[in-house]
Symmetry: C2
Subunit: 409 residues, 2 copies
């Protein structure tokens, strides 16, 4: 044991290894990069629009659960989650209820997966480009990363197979299978099955991070059957993008052999997710069987319309400047700058000056070999269409600052 005796009144100075590994945000999430105008239009985060969150229905559900005799919603409950909610989720997922663990949202599910599967220093294959906050989460396990290319159909399974064949032995793989953050793509069902076969063959666990899966715009969701049928997948889900981030409520579908370990860990953190929030959402979902899908239908229509508006506005206000495709779902557009002469960092600074804020594509690579720096991540879900039009006007102005000689501006 190291003995530390500090002077009277001074702060103990030795920080645990776990804490020393946690770094300050760089790029994505670093507020110091922005000097925001008062009237800035913010396309920064995947925020659901309050207009499609069932606030009134949640209030009504709350009144009912808080009027129950003995008010069980205000008491302790099981670490795994309360039964009505878990059963509703299990039924929707098509898995036994024992495989459902309720969490405080998607990121919480990821942190439980990280702690339960990874030894400190383990190798983890990750999306490239990636949702950058996962890399911050990985600092909890001091993991090393193996970037795997993400293409128009999500994770590039051929590159992953090559890496594995060449001897890479990750303990886990992180990917966003549906409406990828930031690159919009979705892994087709057949590729999911192949991915699971690789996981089983090479002994890694897939962390399938799926916050956007319910926000498909047309034709229904991709199948999760391959995930459900394997002991090598933790499927991480949340009500964040559908019922509201502020609930802090999600779930993971886990293989049975992991459920006990996750509960053991969770019971030493915060015991269980808020019984009140679980009871409210459980009541909301079960009292009116059609409410969740009706809520989702409204959200899907709204987000699809906004995505179309944004793509059309970009083409109108900056003709030919972007390669932009309306996503199949989710909350992000990932347009590519066609003209290599455009400096994307200058564009972001000029856009901020014009009054539009977004995440630079250069914040998203987890390794070399991407053209992410030629992209912008535009989050449109919470932005009214008139503002999306205006954002495109501002972005067009920012772009033209680079095509017109300074003197003539």
């Amino acid at each position: 044991m190291t003995v530390t005796i500090t002077d009277t009144g001074s702060a103990p100075s030795r920080r645990p290894t776990l804490i020393k590994a946690l770094t300050a945000p760089k790029g994505f999430g670093d507020a110091t990069l922005r000097d925001r105008r008062e009237d800035a239009i913010e396309l920064l985060g995947g925020i659901p629009d309050p207009a499609v969150l069932p606030a009134a229905e949640l209030a009504e559900a709350t009144i009912r659960v808080l009027a129950r005799p003995g008010v069980p919603a205000l008491q302790y409950s099981r670490t795994e989650g309360i039964s009505p909610l878990r059963e509703w989720i299990a039924d929707r997922e098509g898995v036994p209820v024992e495989r459902i663990i309720v969490t405080n949202g998607g990121f919480h599910g990821l942190s439980l997966a990280i702690h339960t599967v990874l030894e400190r220093g383990d190798l983890v294959a990750v999306d490239n480009p990636i949702f950058p906050l996962f890399l911050r989460g990985l600092e909890l396990s001091d993991a090393r990363i193996l970037p795997v290319r993400v293409g128009p159909n999500g994770l590039d399974i051929d590159q992953l197979a090559d890496l594995l064949r060449d001897g890479a032995r990750p303990k886990a793989l992180y990917t966003v299978p549906d409406f990828h953050n930031p690159t919009q793509g979705t892994v087709p069902s057949s590729v999911r099955a192949e991915l699971v076969r690789l996981a089983e063959r090479y002994g890694f666990v897939i962390f399938a991070d799926n916050p956007y899966r319910e926000l498909w715009y047309e034709g229904g969701p991709e199948s999760t059957e391959a995930f459900n049928n394997s002991e090598h997948v933790i499927h991480i889900n949340t009500f964040t993008k559908t019922l509201g981030p502020g609930l802090r409520l999600g779930w993971i579908v886990v293989p049975e052999y992991l459920a006990g370990d996750i509960v053991a860990l969770r019971s030493r953190q915060d015991s269980h997710s808020s019984t009140l929030v679980q009871a409210i959402v459980g009541e909301l979902l079960t009292a009116d069987a059609g409410l969740f899908d009706a809520t989702l239908d409204r959200a899907r229509r709204l987000y699809k319309s906004r995505a179309e508006t944004l793509v059309a506005a970009l083409e109108r206000e900056a003709p030919g400047a972007f390669e932009a495709v309306v996503p199949g779902g989710g909350l992000f557009l990932w347009p590519r700058l066609r003209d290599d002469a455009v400096d994307p960092d200058r564009l972001a600074v000029d856009a901020s000056d014009e009054g539009v804020e977004y995440q630079r594509g250069s914040f998203f690579p987890s390794g070399p070999g991407t053209d992410a720096d030629r992209h912008l991540r535009l989050a449109y879900g919470h932005v009214p269409e008139a503002q999306l039009d205006d954002a495109a006007v501002r972005l067009g102005r920012a772009l033209r600052r680079q095509s017109i000689p300074k003197a003539s501006l």
Copy 2:
């Protein structure tokens, strides 16, 4: 890196060091010890009575927060907690708001303290007897423990000083200063100041776990000034025993130098406590300035009356059998069996058979040298007085099984 290649379809078998250290409950929390009667009276846990939880007021607060324009209660919020709630807490604690971090209840505060202060394998001084779940929480850091005697006035600071003088160098000290779980005692204000001086001199951090502090029965609370004025204290608090465990809402008062580390860790777990729960409780506390204290007054009167009922009933139904003192607050009675001839394990089994369940004193020691096995922990907060009377009758019957020869029963 260890390479693990498993057979197709088999579960990956290597468990992380963190997870391997987590053990199954023994004694306290082990449901297999009980074979409960249908009509059993349960004096098992420190559960607040629903009659003194402000359920209707919480429902009204919910309606108001969910009707606000843009419904911020359903959106993301800061890791530290939302401002109205943090400010109310800071004001009540008498510390700057920067020192308040909102948590998912008391145990969550403990887990954040454990991860932020302790290196794996560190030595931690702990109450003896102790709230056993803290030892389970400590498994997160694989800590070694240094038991310190707890007497009628809580932690025995003289024994702690002796241990430190003899060379013990804990990195942290865990204690419940107010209405100790399980032993009822409270550390006087003057002793808190001495305790803080020891922490500053020997360089350890005090984890002051204080879920029961607001449930004093008479004369007001002990001062927390010594805790507030030191950089060597994390003061762990919760609304669990006052507004309801099901909220999963608490807070820690931390020294400023630790706030950043705790936020960095927390932001990688579940990002923040439910914005909705924080907004509801913030609204409850600020909309009617007197409501919290009025709620507490009702709770204090109820729990005091139940404690008195239970002590009187024990004396009536088992005259002279127990040394039992009405606690100064909290939710636990810690009566001692006067007759050394009584077998406490047999008593617990017989009591269960008679229909009364409690925690055996033998579940609570963290080391040798206590008489905890001669005690019972009776949790009376949630049990109506008629049932407390009945529990004493049943306990009296169970006791008499040991004083009367089997043949004559």
